[in-house]
């Protein structure tokens, strides 16, 4: 138990995490490419036409995974921010910073694909119902975090300020998730609930889950790659950086 704990702190040092992340990036990248390729094939050639929305419903295969990732990444960032605030660990703050652009990207994609799904089916690109509005607020939270982090020159202060914004914003996540239950919204309810109730055909569900796993692996690969850049930027004066083969060459 205690040796495990020591191990975790061992990896919380940027010098040991940098090469570990370097080894993990290609693994997750390959997993992501395979899963997304399979997911795309299933999306267009295997999943059946919907009885009501015809071929138009296929947008769900990017919309729902993107929306899930937009919320999930935020929770993971808030987790790292909390760890960083409590234990004063530099690496967890870097992890939060590395995830932010990817989270913002998926939030944007959820909104974008949602607009292109809403127009033909509902008849509107955008409405100010609780689900759409809270997802837009999530996008602003990501942008606010990135801007706040970037605006403060002192890294430690920037990390602290960003972490507090992240933790305050966590309240928005359950609001997004339960908005369709708590209030009348134009957005429909969840097709896959936390309790495991599913209201879609099995092939459609499997396709969506495979795409979601692909997006998940993609996020890990990109975030680890980005955290490597951030580690280098922040630790450029450390001795171990100078010994790296890619720096000496």
């Amino acid at each position: 138990m205690s040796s495990r704990l020591v191990n975790w702190f061992h990896f919380s040092s940027p010098a040991t995490f940098y090469p570990l992340a370097g080894r993990l990036v290609p693994i997750f990248a390959v997993i992501a490419v395979i899963l997304i390729a399979v997911g795309l094939y299933l999306s267009f050639f295997v999943a059946p036409t919907d009885y009501k929305q015809g071929e138009g419903y296929r947008i769900i295969f990017v919309h729902v995974p993107a929306a899930w990732m937009s919320m999930f990444i935020y929770l993971v960032m808030a987790f790292w921010a909390a760890l960083g605030l409590i234990f004063n660990t530099r690496l967890s703050m870097m992890m939060a910073q590395a995830l932010a652009p990817t989270g913002a990207l998926f939030t944007f994609l959820a909104l974008w694909t949602g607009a292109f799904w809403g127009k033909p089916m509902w008849g509107a690109w955008w409405v100010w119902d609780a689900r759409l509005t809270s997802e837009l607020i999530l996008f602003f939270l990501y942008m606010g975090y990135i801007a706040l982090q970037g605006a403060i020159d002192d890294t430690r202060r920037a990390d602290r300020a960003g972490a507090i914004l992240l933790l305050v914003g966590v309240v928005n996540i359950p609001i997004i998730y339960f908005s369709v239950k708590w209030w009348n919204t134009l957005h429909q309810g969840a097709s896959v609930s936390l309790r495991g109730d599913v209201s879609m055909a099995t092939t459609m569900l499997v396709t969506m889950l495979i795409m979601a796993l692909g997006f998940w692996a993609y996020s890990i690969a990109v975030a680890l790659k980005r955290v490597r850049c951030i580690i280098l930027e922040r630790e450029r004066d450390a001795g171990w950086v100078g010994k790296l083969p890619e720096i000496r060459a």
Binding site: A29, F44, T49, G54, E55, G56, R58, I59, V62, H63, A66, P101, T102, L105, F108, L109, W112, T113, F116, W117, K119, P120, Y218, A221, V222, K225, R226, R228, C229, L232, E233, R236, V241, G242, E246, I247, R248, A249
Partner: protein, 57 residues
């Protein structure tokens, strides 16, 4: 199913392809941008180190 029918997407071509297209575009662009950022950082640090070594050998 033939290809023209496939691209037509039952009349939802604009919406389906705009969704999948932009998603693909951004998810290809992001890793490339991150890769570029890493390359820049490495180059900058390598140059800095060289300069330091030249100053005090």
């Amino acid at each position: 199913m033939n290809w023209s029918e496939f691209w037509h997407m039952g009349g939802y071509a604009l919406y389906v392809w705009a969704s999948f297209g932009v998603t693909a575009l951004l998810m290809i662009a992001e890793p490339l941008l991150v890769g570029g950022r890493c390359r820049n950082v490495r180059r900058r640090i390598a140059r800095l180190r060289r300069l330091q070594q030249e100053e005090n050998p």
